[in-house]
C-alpha cells in the first residue's frame, strides 16, 4: 500500500485534540446511563429544590427584590448564583485530577499537557451552558425578559471559564507532585462556597442598624470584595435576576481576577509540566 504524506504543523494550536478530549470527557460521563445528558440538569434542579425548601421555607431567608426586574423568588435568586458556582466547583475539581487520571497518556505520548485540564474545564463548560439555557427558559416563564442580556452573559461565561482554567492549571500539576492537593481543594471549595453570597443575599452581612457585620474587627462586606466568586455571582445576578448591567467596579474585579488566575496558572503549569512524566 502506498504511503502518502501530508505535511502537518507540529507546533500549532491543538484544536482537534482539545475538541476530541472534551468530547471524550462528555461522552464518557453519560455513556451507558439511561437518562444521559438529563443528569446534567437533574442534579442542579434537585439541589435548587432542596436548598429552596431549607433556606426559604424553614430558615426564612428573604431574597432581594430584583431591581429593576421586580422579581422576588428565592429559587430563581439561588439559581442565578448556584449554577455559576457549580461550574467553578466542577471545573476545578475535574481539572485537578485530570493529570493523574491520564497518567498513562502523559507517560506514553507527547502532546501539549495543558490540553488535559483545559478539556476538563471545557467539558464542564458545556454542561454549564446547557444549565444556563434551562435557567433562561425558567426566567422567561417567570416573566424576566433575559433575552437582551444573554450576549453579555456569554461574555461573562467566557471570563469565568478563563478564571476556572487558570485555577485548574495552577492546581492540576501541583496535585501530580502532592497528591493531597485534591483533598485540600475539596475543603477549600467548601469554605469558598459558604464565603460567597450564593444561598444568602448580601443583606445578611449587615446588622439591623445597617452597620456591617465584623469578623476580627474587619468588615465582612469589605472582605467579600476580595472574593472573585462574589463578583462573578453578583454579575450573573445583575444580568439574569435584576436585568441590568453590572457595575464597572464588578467588571474590573472580574477582569483582574481572571488575568491573575490565568497568569499564575500558566506560569506554574509551565514550570511543573516538564517533569510530569516522571512524577506521575
Amino acid at each position: 500500500m502506498p504511503v502518502t504524506r501530508s505535511r502537518r504543523s507540529t507546533g500549532g494550536f491543538p484544536r482537534e485534540l482539545l475538541l476530541n478530549l472534551t468530547l471524550r470527557e462528555l461522552r464518557g460521563k453519560f455513556k451507558r446511563s439511561a437518562i444521559g445528558w438529563g443528569w446534567s440538569v437533574i442534579n442542579p434542579v434537585v439541589t435548587i429544590t432542596v436548598y429552596s425548601i431549607v433556606f426559604s421555607m424553614f430558615l426564612k431567608i428573604e431574597p432581594p427584590v430584583g431591581d429593576p426586574s421586580g422579581l422576588h423568588t428565592y429559587a430563581l435568586f439561588l439559581m442565578c448564583g448556584l449554577l455559576p458556582w457549580l461550574f467553578t466547583f466542577n471545573g476545578l475539581m475535574g481539572s485537578v485530577t485530570t493529570l493523574i487520571a491520564n497518567e498513562g497518556l502523559i507517560k506514553k505520548v507527547y502532546f501539549k499537557r495543558w490540553v488535559l485540564p483545559t478539556s476538563s474545564v471545557l467539558a464542564w463548560l458545556v454542561s454549564f451552558l446547557i444549565e444556563m439555557g434551562v435557567v433562561a427558559v425558567v426566567l422567561l416563564i417567570a416573566g424576566n425578559m433575559v433575552l437582551p442580556w444573554l450576549a453579555v452573559v456569554l461574555a461573562l461565561v467566557a471570563l469565568q471559564t478563563l478564571f476556572v482554567l487558570g485555577l485548574g492549571l495552577l492546581f492540576a500539576p501541583i496535585n501530580a507532585y502532592f497528591r493531597d492537593v485534591e483533598h485540600f481543594t475539596g475543603i477549600f471549595l467548601n469554605i469558598w462556597f459558604w464565603a460567597t453570597p450564593i444561598i444568602y443575599p448580601m443583606t445578611v452581612l449587615y446588622r439591623k442598624d445597617g452597620s456591617p457585620q465584623e469578623i476580627f474587627g474587619l468588615s465582612v462586606p469589605n472582605l467579600m470584595n476580595l472574593n472573585p466568586m462574589y463578583h462573578f455571582v453578583t454579575a450573573y445576578r445583575d444580568l439574569l435576576y435584576n436585568l441590568r448591567l453590572p457595575d464597572a467596579s464588578t467588571w474590573l474585579y472580574i477582569v483582574v481576577a481572571t488575568a491573575c488566575s490565568l497568569l499564575l496558572g500558566s506560569w506554574v503549569f509551565g514550570r511543573l509540566e516538564a517533569r510530569l512524566a516522571e512524577e506521575l
Partner: protein
C-alpha cells in the same frame, strides 16, 4: 552522512530522582521543611551525542536500565533532558504504548479519531486513512463496539494500526514488534518496509538482537547511560554480544574449585566416568557403552536443577556439550542426588579427555555451581578399528565396496 540528520542528539544528560520515601503528602513535606525528603540522583543518560541519519532505521540496544528507552522518550519529548538538546526534524509518532488514551466506553471508531488526534492528526487526515487503519487492524466487524469489549490483542492491534498509519516522518518504536498473531506481524513488517521505502526515519528499541541486526542500518549500544558504541548494525551487535558473553562468564564465577579453595563444601560432590560395566573408571573405550555421573547436594540448591556436561580434550578442544534441556531434578529432596548421562556407544576417538559439569536453574540461565575440566580419563581405541583415527569423533560404521 552528508544529509542533515533526522534526529540530532547533542550532549544529552538525563537524571532521575529516586525518592527514598516518596513525599506524596503535603503534611510530610511541611514537616520536612519543604524538602521533598532525600533522593538519590540516578544518571539515566550521561552526555550522549549521536545522529540518526534521515531515512535510516536506527536501533538502540543495551541491557535493562541502560538508558535506551529513556533516550527514546527524550526523542519523543515525553522527558525533557536536563542538559543538552535533541533536534528532531519532521513529524514524530511514538509507538511506546499501543492504544494509550483509548477510552473504554467509546467505540473503536471514536477511539481511532481520539487516538489519532493525540498523535497530532486532524479529523480530515483521519478521514483520509480511516479505512486503511481499520483494514490494517483487521477489526472491521468490531469497529463500532466499545473498546472495553475488545480482547487485549484487538486493543493492541487497533492502537498499532492508528500509530503506524499516521504516516510519521520519524517513528519511535519501543519493544512492540511482537504484537498480534503471525499474519498481523507480517503486516507490521511490511508496513515498516513501506515507511522505510518512503523515506521515514525509524528508531527502534529492542532486545531481539537478530531482529535488530536485520532491521536496522545503524545501532547504538548503551550501558549505564553511556554510549558504548555506534555504527553499522552488524558490527555493533557483534561487539555487544562479545561483551555480554564475557560478562556472563564472569557472572558464573562460582566453581567447585573456588568453593574448595574458600574452605566450603562444594555442591557437586562427585563427577565420574563409568565404563561399560557401570564401574567408575578412568579408562573408557571408543564405541563401547559409557556413562557420566554427577552427584550433588540437592538440598543446598532447593529449586529445580538442570545439568550440563561438557567433554573437552586435554589440549582444550571442545568436543561436545549436552544438557538436560530443562530441570531433571525438582530440588525438593534433601541430601545427595545423582544424575547420569548414559551413552550407548561412545563416539569419541582415543585420547585423554576432561569433563566439565554445570548445575543450572531450570531455564539454564543461572549457574549454581560448575566444575571446569576436572575429571580426566583416557579413551582407548576400539579393537574393531584397524585404521588410525584422526579428528575428534568416531564415526563408526562399516566399509563396503560395490
Amino acid at each position: 552522512m552528508s544529509a542533515a540528520p533526522a534526529i540530532a542528539v547533542e550532549h544529552v544528560t538525563k537524571r532521575f530522582r529516586l525518592l527514598h520515601d516518596r513525599n506524596g503528602t503535603l503534611k510530610a513535606t511541611v514537616l520536612n521543611g519543604f524538602r521533598r525528603t532525600t533522593y538519590e540522583e540516578f544518571l539515566a543518560l550521561d552526555d550522549v551525542s549521536l545522529e540518526v541519519p534521515e531515512g535510516s532505521t536506527y536501533g538502540l540496544i543495551g541491557e535493562n536500565g541502560s538508558g535506551k528507552s529513556t533516550l527514546l522518550k527524550c526523542m519523543a519529548k515525553i522527558y525533557r533532558p536536563d542538559k543538552g538538546r535533541i533536534d528532531v526534524r519532521g513529524k514524530v509518532s511514538a509507538l511506546l504504548e499501543l492504544g494509550a488514551g483509548f477510552h473504554p466506553e467509546l467505540s473503536g471508531r471514536e477511539n481511532v479519531y481520539l487516538n489519532a488526534s493525540i498523535l497530532g492528526m486532524s479529523r480530515r487526515d483521519v478521514d483520509g486513512c480511516f479505512d486503511d487503519i481499520v483494514e490494517f487492524s483487521g477489526l472491521e466487524r468490531f469497529i463500532d463496539t466499545p473498546v472495553k469489549n475488545y480482547s487485549s490483542g484487538m486493543y493492541v492491534r487497533l492502537g498499532f494500526a492508528v500509530a503506524i498509519n499516521v504516516d510519521p516522518e520519524v517513528l519511535l518504536v519501543d519493544e512492540i514488534l511482537a504484537v498480534g498473531d503471525e499474519a498481523f506481524q507480517t503486516r507490521c513488517t511490511e508496513k515498516f518496509s513501506d515507511l522505510k521505502r518512503s523515506g521515514s526515519t525509524i528508531v527502534v528499541v529492542s532486545h531481539g538482537l537478530d531482529q535488530m541486526r536485520n532491521l536496522c542500518d545503524r545501532i547504538a549500544w548503551f550501558e549505564h547511560g553511556v554510549l558504548q558504541a555506534e555504527g553499522p548494525s552488524g558490527q555493533v551487535v557483534d561487539q555487544y554480544l562479545k561483551q555480554v558473553r564475557s560478562d556472563r562468564t564472569a557472572y558464573a564465577a562460582r566453581t567447585r574449585d573456588s568453593a574448595i579453595e574458600a574452605g566450603e563444601t562444594p555442591i557437586i560432590s562427585r563427577i565420574e566416568a563409568l565404563d561399560a560395566d557401570g564401574r567408575s573408571s578412568e579408562l573408557l573405550r571408543t564405541g563401547a557403552p559409557a556413562a557420566f555421573r554427577v552427584t550433588f547436594d540437592e538440598g543446598r540448591i532447593g529449586e529445580p536443577v538442570a545439568v550440563a556436561i561438557g567433554l573437552f580434550r586435554v589440549d582444550g578442544t571442545h568436543v561436545t556439550s549436552v544438557n538436560t534441556g530443562g530441570a531433571i531434578v525438582d530440588g525438593t529432596g534433601r541430601g545427595q542426588r545423582s544424575v547420569t548421562l548414559s551413552v550407548p556407544s561412545l563416539p569419541v576417538i582415543t585420547g585423554r579427555y576432561a569433563l566439565s559439569v554445570a548445575l543450572h536453574d531450570a531455564n539454564l540461565m543461572h549457574v549454581h555451581e560448575r566444575a571446569d575440566r576436572t575429571v580426566q580419563f583416557e579413551i582407548e581405541p576400539d579393537p574393531a578399528y584397524t585404521s588410525p583415527q584422526r579428528g575428534i569423533t568416531a564415526l563408526g560404521g562399516t566399509w563396503s565396496a560395490s
